[in-house]
Symmetry: C3
Subunit: 139 residues, 3 copies
């Protein structure tokens, strides 16, 4: 069984955002899968996806702070700067975090840990909507 769907996430401000519920609502086919995998792919080079702690919102704030420190704007060696000072750091952050999540599915549920949630990592100051390709395969 293959299920594939493209969904669009509404624009969000720069930062790290929990989107687990939105994924589940837009892809109810997960509930029909006894054993399998889901892949979530983001079709952009200045936003990314990761899995991390979903309970305390300060974790997501600290992600934004630390990634800004680890990948600063306006570094003298950046050549790709004509789309704004947030653009090249956005590309770098996107590759550090990655563009695909691969999550096991068991008995109709994402088989993640108790505290794991799916983050949309928005690295641009003024981004548009973001498109994801969701692919589910299983029995």
């Amino acid at each position: 069984m293959w299920k594939q769907k493209e969904i669009r996430l509404k624009p969000r401000r720069r930062g790290f955002h929990l989107i687990t519920d939105e994924i589940l609502q837009q892809f109810p086919e997960i509930q029909g899968c006894r054993v399998g995998m889901i892949w979530i792919f983001i079709k952009h080079t200045s936003a990314s996806l990761t899995i991390n702690e979903d309970a305390d919102p300060t974790v997501r704030q600290d992600f934004e702070s630390h990634f800004n420190q680890m990948v600063p704007e306006n570094m003298p060696y950046y050549k790709h700067d004509y789309e704004g000072s947030d653009d090249m750091p956005a590309h770098l952050k996107a590759s550090i975090l990655g563009s695909t999540l691969s999550i096991p599915v068991t008995d109709g549920r994402l088989n993640m840990g108790t505290w794991q949630g799916i983050y949309l990592c928005e690295h641009r100051n003024h981004a548009g909507p973001r498109n994801l390709v969701l692919t589910l395969q299983g029995d």
Copy 2:
């Protein structure tokens, strides 16, 4: 053919640990797969998985040193600090390294390079056991 199994790794000290043999021992189903993929997913937000050099143990020591330098403890901008100074860096390191490995399987073996091994990356000072979901699919 889908095979899925949850395994528990014993607690390990903070650092990077080779777990290739343990994965193979706990999942002998790999030997029956001619062509396919295996996904190894860690159900935690303060430990992660990566693939790297499995021969020289100093590589794993240097991983611990460098990740501590790249993601330091006690940064003034951390707000999520009530679980200890190692906690927020652990979340950040986990997302930088990632929570899933995707490895091709060929003729009953993990089709990795000669020097590649699977690391458990333990980012907490006093962690408990860590749970992995292993999913194999193939012919």
Copy 3:
């Protein structure tokens, strides 16, 4: 349907290189897949794969500059140094970027965004050819 193939990329200089076209040429089986996934795995610990902006070559130059700053050579805490000053940073960069790409396939095409391309990230100064395992599964 499973298709798996090992390909060899010619040696490239240290830096970030677009290889999307080479992947497509060496794996025409993608064109026969209506819905599925492709996994691209690199069998090395000092080179890696990522997806990022494929239009402006300065993005790839900035990747090289920034990764050299974020993972410097000759850090006093490196113990694994007998293969040259570029070796331990290469291992670290490889794990930060990752060894597998997972990309959805739709109607015979890689279902990536308009500006997304596949990068080979060569972290060594004098590398040999690099081997990839390409695995496609779908209908």
